[in-house]
Amino acid sequence: MRRSPRGYRRRVFVILLALAAVTLVAGVIVGPVYIPISDAFSYLIGRGTSADGSPSVSYLIISQIRLPRVLLGLLVGCALAISGGTMQGLFRNPLASPYVLGIASGASTGASLIILLNLHGVLFLSLGAFIGGSLAVGIVYQLAQERDRKTSVYTLILAGVAVGALFSAVTSFIIFLSSGTERMTDVIFWIMGGLGRANWTYLYVLTPIVALGSVILIVFSRDLNALAMGEEGAFHLGINPETSKRIMLGVATLLTSSAVAFAGTIGFVGLIIPHIMRLIIGPDHRFLLPATAIAGAVFLVWADMVARTVVQPAELPVGIITAFLGAPFFLYLLKTKKARM
């Protein structure tokens, strides 16, 4: 039933890429202000001025609000999903997520601290989140080092849980300190995650990281297949498990930290998308990771479209939507495909 011959896989990729293209256009059109599809197309192909030569309203909305937001959604969705797929592969556990090593809690603490200290600047918040997330993972990784500089995945998971709890406590304390102020709302909204802050500066920073990181993970995807045989099994297939693990953990952490830095801790994308794609395309990570990257990007943009239209003129945090859409779909697949955990 779940055979994945080459033709089938190719069809899946064609559909995913088509979906990505549709998503890009749809993301630009959908929103509180109606933008005609013709305007969207003409902007996207580079001819975005109106007849009299001055920028039209549509042009401004597209270039300053919609497009950065859609592109950020694509990048963050891609980064979270491919990191999630990698973590699941490394931990040989379909319940692993990109946040398993405490990145989310660490990043939340970092971001809350920046908000509490009232530091402004385009990249301050992101920097704070990135440093917090990396710090958490760094501690976890140090804790999990064993003799011979080997790393035990079980210790990693446990240390991730413990360090995550510690950072969450710090964040709660910060929320407590800022209670009653506008900053508390800011912190809580940041933690729930969203693409509302999107701007071109973010994109200039994030694009090379996500592009390079994804390529590296896809290059190492075959090692994940070998690691599915266990670390010794991988060794006997000529893969050095320590090297592969270190590189992939490092890159997945960088991708996740960066995504979280710009979009907050959006849940479920990194857990559910790899899982769903595994049910569709099979466990071979050479195909699973690229498929997951595209699907994650597409999914997050659609979730964001729902988030910004469903309670107009307000916006829902996108994390609520990802969970709302993702969890039932996941359960449906689980029931119908009889997937094994």
Partner: protein, 421 residues
């Protein structure tokens, strides 16, 4: 490919696990490492495959030191199937077997014709083709083990290490796996395996190394290594080593630990043969001091008697009982407190045993198992039946089961007034 191990030491958390291991294994050989649990078999395999690095000494594949080779270089020559491998995710059998090609492929290389052919051959050899498309995690233990073997074979190794390849498998799968491996050695594959089943080692290995507390106790052909004294030292248990005529290999049987009889209730002589005495001897061994006779060394009762430490009156097989043996047997019976005649088939060869019993003239208690069925076991045209009837008439006790025999003997030798019956 030859494997040479020179002066290998390995310790784990400061505790020595392997000490002074030196071995050489030749191309095309099946070499088994046997030894009790915790003797270091798995650790030795891991030192050979490069998973662990020895503290001192080295392992060489042909002339190259394993620790000098890259992981990928090792994998192109040597592979291993470790114990209890668990696969993450629902890879199909075909996908798992195809992973064996990883050391020979580039990162994104598609399967070449050669890859496809090797995968197909390996699946055929290991007999997994019929379930190639099933997820490996749905398979039984034996199917999984064969799939891992197929994966290892598709890797085209020159050295194959197997850690307990047959544990948890039914005997038919054990044999299947061993036969596949043996077939591969004919094309030059060197196989090194850790086995705890001494009989499989005896049957399939060209040479065996016996490991005990991290040291090599003996190396050599199975018959040189698997001796009762070596096995007693390593396993701290007594065994009987015999020869299995079906497979022309050794077979090793454990001897159950038996409490020494401090003060036997009495001496019992058993007349048996052809396996009819095994149950009786075992039933009586812990309470009586036993003797058996006349019997030939080829008789299965002989082995049981020997194992139970009974006194045995022997005579050559395939010949009538000699007067000397007859006399010795009679003397043994006279000095006994009781004589048990098992439901043995009687022919001209062992008929004198019955005559001897009759010569006792009822001075010793005689117990006869199932005397009413003697006709069925009589191959002497009625002579044996006549002797048995005569015995019963002159006071021998007919017994219908071993349980009853035990009960009678216990009563007769626990009470003071013997011979009431």
């Amino acid at each position: 490919m030859d494997i040479t191990i020179k002066g290998l030491h390995f310790s784990y958390n400061g505790k020595p696990v392997l000490e002074e291991i030196s071995l050489s294994i030749q191309k095309g050989e099946i070499f088994a490492i046997v030894g009790p649990n915790g003797s270091g078999k798995t650790t030795l395999l891991k030192n050979i495959s490069g998973v662990l690095t020895p503290d001192a000494g080295a392992v060489y594949l042909d002339m190259k030191r394993v620790t000098d080779l890259s992981t990928r270089d090792i994998a192109r020559h040597l592979t291993a199937v470790e114990q209890e491998r668990e696969v993450g995710f629902d890879f199909t059998v075909r996908e798992v077997v195809a992973m064996g090609r990883i050391p020979h492929q580039g990162r994104f290389a598609r399967e070449t014709q050669k890859d496809k052919q090797k995968i197909r051959e390996a699946m055929e050899l290991a007999n997994v083709t019929s379930f190639a498309n099933r997820p490996i995690r749905e398979l039984s233990g034996g199917e999984k083990q064969r799939t891992f073997l197929a994966m290892a074979l598709s890797q085209e190794p020159k050295v194959l290490l197997l850690d307990e390849p047959t544990t948890h498998l039914d005997i038919n799968y054990q044999i299947q796996i061993m036969e596949i491996v043996r077939q591969q050695t004919r094309t030059g594959l060197t196989v090194l395996m850790a086995l705890h089943d001494l009989n499989l080692a005896a049957q399939y290995a060209d040479r065996v190394a016996l490991l005990h507390r991290g040291r090599l106790l003996a190396i050599g052909e199975p018959k040189e290594v698997l001796t009762p004294s070596n096995i007693r030292r390593a396993f701290e248990t007594d065994v009987v080593v015999g020869h299995n005529p079906l497979t022309n290999s050794l077979y090793i049987n454990t001897v159950p630990y038996r409490r020494k009889v401090s003060t036997p209730l009495g001496k019992v002589h058993v007349i048996c043969g052809g396996g009819s005495g095994v149950a009786v001897l075992h039933a009586l061994a812990d309470r009586f001091s036993l003797s058996v006779g006349v019997i030939s060394p080829l008789d299965s009762d002989f082995q049981a008697a020997q194992r139970l430490g009974a006194k045995i009156v022997i005579d050559a097989p395939f010949a009538p009982i000699s007067p000397k043996a007859y006399k010795e047997n009679l003397d043994t019976m006279r000095s006994s407190d009781g004589v048990v005649i098992c439901d043995t088939p009687f022919g001209p060869g062992n008929l004198p045993n019955l005559r001897a019993a009759l010569e006792l003239e009822n001075k010793v208690n005689i117990y006869v198992l199932n005397p009413e069925e003697i006709e069925k076991r009589d191959y002497t045209e009625g002579q044996a039946a006549q002797l048995v009837r005569q015995l019963v008439r002159s006071g021998a006790v007919p017994i219908s089961s071993i349980k009853e025999l035990k009960r009678c003997l216990a009563v007769d030798y626990c009470s003071t007034d013997r011979g009431v019956n």
